[in-house]
Every structure is written in structure tokens, then in C-alpha cells.
């Protein structure tokens, strides 16, 4: 049985190639060449979409769960309790006279922001597969929105720290105004790692299983449950390569007045920026394939 084989006749010729006046800059569609073709114009044009995606993430998160906003508080509180019992009481970590819960929470807050947003961002592209397959927009908006939405959770969790500081009557250090800078550093790191993981995850679906493990290991390479002065000598340099070391140190310094971060902070900042830009690069180099592989 023959299937319909339309004869290859052209009924009318397509319009002639006579040049016409073009008033607009056209959108050009062609295979991308080279490794750096970042479309800033589009990213800017779609800035409102980024806002709406963040707004959706926040709104849905607090609408869906029964406990609503309290979730952002309960989670760190529980973790704080566990860490205080294990590391503060049982292991007796030396915090130079700072009450352990306070010491821990000042590091836990930026850490949780990082860990949660990286987890969210890593799955964000695959989770938005239905949109990615059907609509064009700069894909970068998806993992970026996941990280930005985490700021709201962070803000809520921050209230616990304030409560704890009041309880212990512990005044903030004079460097508290530098806090936003360290939050920004955490964000840059989270964005960078998020770009990497979301893009790899879109391509290799088993990376999803490795992400929680990676984050867990990362926690112990970050001075959240212990003070960083446990690390000595040349190890400090290696340690500082972890940008979250700089973030957590900075938070503690700005909030509860521990020792100011050393020059090693610059190492952390450098790695953070490197992760961010390489993530951006990797993301945009595989972006074009997303719709085909997701």
C-alpha cells in the first residue's frame, strides 16, 4: 500500500530575492559558532520574566505547604538543634566563648541559602522541561530565578538569628553593614554552581542523584559546625578555595564579631567569580541543546 507521496511540484515560485528595505534589525537564526555568544540583549528584554519566575517560585512555595512561611523557619531551627546537641554539647567544639547556637546559626544561614538554592537550581531546568520545549526565552532565567527566590527564605530564616541575638544579648559587630556583600558572594557562588549543575543535569539525568551528596560533602568542607581556625598552615590556602568558607567567615564576622576574614577571603572571592563565569560559559554553550535533550 503506497502512502501519499506528494509530487514535488512548486505551484508558484517563492518570492524573488529582490532586496527590500528593512527597517528593523532582524532576529537571525543559524547554528551558533564559537564559545562565547552571550545574548545580553535578550536577557535584558526578558528581565520581567525573571521577576515573574521568582515571584512564582516564592508564591507557590508558600502557598503549597501547609505550614507556609513557617517552613523557612522550622527547617533551620531543627538543624540548629541537631548541630548544637552533636557538635556543641557532645563533641564540644571550641567557639572561643561564643554561645554555640549563635555561632552555628550565623554560619548555617548562608549555608542553607546556598545548599537549598543549589538543590533547587540543579533541578530547575529539568523541572521546567515543559516550558523549555515549547517557548523561547533565555534559559538562564530558570536557574537564576531559583537562586533569587531563595533570598526570601533567607530573609525569613534571618529572623531566628535576630531572635537568638536578642536572647543572648549579643550585639552585632560594627561590620554588620558588610553583610549584604557576603550574601552577594553566596549568591554568586550559588548561581555559578547552579548554572553548572542545571546544565549538566539537563544532559545527564543521573547527576540529580549526585547533587545532594555533593552538597553534603561541601557542608563539611565549610566552617558551619566548627570554627575555621581548626584548619592550619598551608591547608588554609586549599580550604579558602571553597568560596563558602569566605561567605561563612564573613557572616560570622559581620554578625557576631568573630575574627575578621584574612586575605584568604580574596581566594574565596576569586573562586566564586571563576565558578560563576565558567558556569555561565558552560550553560550558554549547551543551552542550544536543551530543548533537544530535555
Amino acid at each position: 500500500m503506497a502512502t501519499l507521496e506528494p509530487p514535488s511540484t512548486s505551484i508558484t515560485s517563492t518570492p524573488s530575492s529582490a532586496s527590500t528595505e528593512m527597517s528593523l534589525t532582524p532576529i537571525i537564526i543559524e547554528p551558533r559558532k564559537g564559545w562565547w555568544q552571550f545574548n545580553w540583549r535578550d536577557l535584558w528584554a526578558y528581565r520581567e520574566l525573571l521577576f515573574f519566575l521568582v515571584w512564582r517560585d516564592v508564591k507557590v512555595r508558600y502557598k503549597q505547604t501547609l505550614l507556609g512561611a513557617s517552613w523557612a523557619i522550622i527547617q533551620p531551627v531543627l538543624q540548629l538543634v541537631v548541630f548544637t546537641i552533636i557538635f556543641g554539647r557532645l563533641a564540644g567544639v571550641n567557639t572561643n566563648g561564643i554561645p554555640y547556637p549563635l555561632f552555628n546559626l550565623a554560619g548555617l544561614l548562608p549555608w542553607q541559602f546556598f545548599a537549598n538554592t543549589v538543590g533547587q537550581a540543579a533541578n530547575s531546568l529539568v523541572g521546567s522541561a515543559n516550558i523549555v520545549r515549547k517557548v523561547y526565552f533565555p534559559r538562564l532565567a530558570i536557574p537564576t530565578a531559583s537562586v533569587l527566590a531563595g533570598v526570601v527564605d533567607f530573609g525569613l530564616s534571618f529572623l531566628i538569628l535576630l531572635a537568638l541575638m536578642v536572647w543572648y544579648q549579643w550585639p552585632p559587630s560594627p561590620a554588620v553593614f558588610l553583610l549584604p556583600i557576603f550574601l552577594l558572594l553566596a549568591m554568586i557562588t550559588a548561581l555559578g554552581v547552579g548554572y553548572w549543575l542545571s546544565a549538566i543535569n539537563a544532559r545527564y539525568r543521573d547527576v540529580r542523584h549526585a547533587t545532594p551528596f555533593l552538597v553534603q560533602l561541601w557542608l563539611f568542607a565549610t566552617p558551619v559546625v566548627y570554627p575555621s581556625n581548626l584548619i592550619e598552615g598551608y591547608w588554609q590556602l586549599l580550604y579558602a578555595l571553597n568560596p563558602m568558607v569566605g561567605v561563612v567567615e564573613g557572616f560570622r564576622w559581620a554578625l557576631i564579631g568573630t575574627q575578621p576574614p584574612s586575605m584568604l577571603l580574596l581566594v574565596s572571592v576569586t573562586t566564586a567569580i571563576t565558578i560563576f563565569f565558567t558556569g555561565l560559559l558552560y550553560f550558554q554553550s549547551v543551552e542550544r541543546k536543551f530543548a533537544d535533550v530535555i
Partner: protein, 422 residues
């Protein structure tokens, strides 16, 4: 006149890899590493598929162009390339103006958000600015007919309301170029008509529309021009009427009726030849659009030139995916096991409502002698028709507006036994 779209030699290749097939459609890093370690020796066999292969065409501003072709002809890939969802492997296209593509209604709708919130979210995803949405907000709500429920989460919407709202947002996009996939095959007939009218307005406002559909009726109604794709290539491009004709076999006016005016052109052999095939709706009118709830009658008109044989007229229906849905043989007791004298016959079969699935169906009309079995004719794609599922709740989809797979869609009795927890 200015160009809106200029496409030159667009091609898109897909690699269908062994890795991908092994894991239910995706690649794992573990496999990729294992393959790498094994070296080139064990390089997985990949099949190359050119979904598009050298497509070139120009579209003038304000043209409404229909893209037609069989499933797998490359229509969807073309839309995806032009919408910038996927990148071409080769070739180049230039688009002059803002582009909005509508490959699905309700993309990005979130069930937990209210109608109002979803209008903003979906609008932003489709590329609308906030102030554009603000300006069109009342018109969208009005078009969707959901005023009362605008602050209710859409998970509580009926399927009809959901689809209406989703389409309403899309319908109020104001791009210079609108790329639309078969999204109109949703909603009840009245709403579909409203959508078609809206799309026509868009065309009349001087905007360019590229429109894919399986419904030749919609193509003919909407478009002055059509492009026929076959195996990733443009095989016909011109006035819609003519291109649709090429697609359906020359000379067809309606896809629901096909007539062979003379013996010479008609399919057939010495015993019998085919004169016409028709699709009729419940009222007996020739129609290429059938409501899923109503019966459809397919009719075969044939002439027996050499009497004395027992004949088996039969139809086979194929869906869009080229799956044979079923074959139905003439069981009319009147003519069963009875040799037929020469003359003209009209054999009809009625397929009940609530049986065929939504979508396009292509009819093969065939006739065989019983003993010895000699095929007289078997005309594939003799006629075609479209089954439309309304969203009024009394079809097999009930209140579900999403996709429903399956080659048939019967309404079946369900019973539930319930026992409360102890």
C-alpha cells in the same frame, strides 16, 4: 512589501543514539563515562534523522501561511527552529519583528496560582511585558469568560475554563510574527470558532502568522498561502487551495469526499472499480469534521463490471501516527456470501460516536474478491476527517483537558466500590 520571514536552507538533524534509547529517553553521565572509557571501539550506533532538510521560503509581512504535511514531515521542527526553541544544524533564517510562538496553550500555567496570577506568569513566559498584560488584562478575562473565578486557583477550574483562559492569554499577544501550532483543536466548537476568528483578526491587522494544522478546513479558512512539507523538504508552496489539493491528492475539494470521474483514472481491476468515497456526519452531510460524540458514516461508491464474485468491501482507518486503528469488512447480511451482479453499489459503514480518538483519521477504501482473493483496489488516504473532542464533560475525557493517549476513545462504564477506613 517587506519580508517578515526569510528562511534559507534550514536543516535540522537529530541523532537518535543507542544510549538514549537504552534509558527511556535520556542519557546518564555514568553511561557516557563508561562509553568513553571503552573507547571508540564500542561507540554506540547512532541513527541520523534529518527532520528538516533544506527548507527555504519567504513570507511577506501580513501573510497568513499554513504549514501542512504528514506527521514526521518536519512541521513541528520547523516551528521550533523558527521559534528559537531549537537551533538548526544548517541554514539561516531572518525574522523581522517581534516573534511569539504558541506551540501549546497554557505553557507554564501553575495549578496553585489563581487565574489572575497565571495570566501574568503565562504572559511573561510568552514574551509579554507587564504593562502590555496590564493593558490587555480585562480583554483577556473577558475573552476567556472567567470573570467570577479570576481569583481562584486554576486547579479548581473546569477543563474548559482552563483552556479558554490559556488561549485568551495567547490570543492577546501583540507580536509582529505569530507562530502557532495545532492549538486550536481544543475547546468546544463555539470557542474554537471564536479562536479562529481571533486569529483571522490577527492576520488582518497586518501581522504575519505561521500556522500548522491537520485540519484542512482551518487552513483553507485562515490562510491564503500554504506550504507543504514532506520528509523535511518543501514540496509545494502556493495558494492554500492548491497546496491542500496537492496534499490530499489532486482534484479534491473537500478532504471528506473523493470522486473519480472516469474509469480510466479510477482505481480498480477487471471485477470492480472505485467511483467515490465520502465521509458523512450524523445528518448525512459530507463533512470533514466530526464531533466525537456523533456517529460518522463512510461510504464507498463502486461499480462491478464483471459479475459473479462474492465481494468484500472494506475500510481501514489510519490515525496521524500512521497506526491502523482498525479494519472493518462489509458484513451486510444481504450481500454476504452472495455473488454480486454488475451494477453500481454504495456500501456504507457507520462508526458509532464516542469510539474514535480525537485527531485526524485517514481512510483506506479497499475491495477484494473472496474466492480467489484478488485485490481490486486499495486506495490509501482516499478521504480523511477530523474527530473533535468537545470539552463539555460528556465525552470520554470527562473533566480532563490534558492529552489523552490511545487510538480509540470509548466511553466505558465505571463502577467504584467504597469502604471507609476502619
Amino acid at each position: 512589501m517587506q519580508y517578515a520571514i526569510r528562511a534559507r536552507d534550514l536543516a535540522k538533524q537529530y541523532q537518535i543514539g543507542a544510549l538514549k534509547q537504552r534509558n527511556a529517553g535520556y542519557v546518564t553521565l555514568r553511561d557516557a563515562i563508561v562509553e568513553r572509557l571503552r573507547g571508540r571501539r564500542a561507540k554506540p550506533a547512532t541513527t541520523e534523522l534529518w527532520a528538516l532538510n533544506g527548507v527555504s521560503f519567504d513570507v511577506q509581512q501580513g501573510e497568513v501561511v499554513g504549514i501542512i504535511g504528514r506527521n514526521g514531515a518536519g512541521k513541528s521542527t520547523l516551528l521550533k527552529v523558527l521559534s528559537r526553541i531549537t537551533e538548526p544544524t544548517r541554514g539561516r533564517a531572518e525574522l523581522y519583528g517581534r516573534v511569539a510562538s504558541l506551540l501549546e496553550v497554557g505553557t507554564g500555567f501553575h495549578p496553585e496560582l489563581t487565574g489572575r496570577e497565571n495570566i501574568y506568569l503565562n504572559g511573561a513566559i510568552l514574551g509579554m511585558r507587564k504593562r502590555e498584560i496590564d493593558r490587555n488584562f480585562d480583554a483577556i478575562v473577558d475573552f476567556a469568560e472567567v470573570e467570577q473565578f479570576i481569583d481562584t486557583p486554576v486547579k479548581f477550574y473546569s477543563s474548559g475554563m482552563y483552556v479558554r483562559l490559556a488561549f485568551a492569554v495567547a490570543a492577546h499577544l501583540e507580536p509582529e510574527i505569530l507562530i502557532v501550532d495545532e492549538v486550536l483543536a481544543v475547546g468546544d466548537a463555539r470557542f474554537q470558532k471564536k479562536c479562529l476568528n481571533k486569529m483571522q483578526d490577527v492576520g488582518q491587522q497586518g501581522r504575519t502568522v505561521l500556522f500548522v494544522s491537520h485540519s484542512m478546513q482551518s487552513i483553507l479558512r485562515m490562510c491564503q498561502r500554504a506550504i507543504l512539507l514532506h520528509q523535511g523538504k518543501v514540496v509545494a508552496d502556493g495558494p492554500a487551495q492548491q497546496v491542500v489539493g496537492v496534499y490530499l491528492g489532486k482534484g479534491a475539494h473537500s478532504i471528506a469526499e473523493r470522486v473519480w470521474p472516469d474509469r480510466a483514472s479510477a482505481p480498480g481491476k477487471e471485477v470492480a472499480y472505485l467511483c467515490a468515497v465520502r465521509v458523512r456526519d450524523a445528518d448525512g452531510d459530507i463533512s470533514d469534521t466530526i464531533d466525537i460524540r456523533s456517529p460518522v458514516t463512510i461510504e464507498m461508491e463502486f461499480v462491478v463490471t464483471l459479475g459473479g464474485y462474492v465481494l468484500l468491501p472494506h475500510f481501514r482507518l489510519y490515525n496521524e501516527d500512521n497506526v491502523a486503528v482498525f479494519t472493518t469488512l462489509d458484513l451486510d447480511p444481504e450481500w454476504r456470501r452472495r455473488p454480486r451482479p454488475p451494477g453500481k453499489y454504495w456500501a456504507r459503514v457507520t462508526i458509532p460516536g464516542n469510539f474514535l480518538a480525537e485527531g485526524s483519521l485517514y481512510v483506506e477504501a479497499a475491495l477484494t474478491t473472496l474466492d480467489p482473493p484478488i485485490k481490486q483496489f486499495a486506495e490509501r488516504d482516499a478521504v480523511a476527517f477530523q474527530v473533535i473532542d468537545s470539552l463539555e464533560g460528556d465525552t470520554a475525557r470527562g473533566d480532563w483537558a490534558g492529552s489523552l493517549s490511545g487510538v480509540v476513545r470509548p466511553v466505558l462504564p465505571w463502577t467504584t466500590t467504597y469502604e471507609p477506613l476502619a
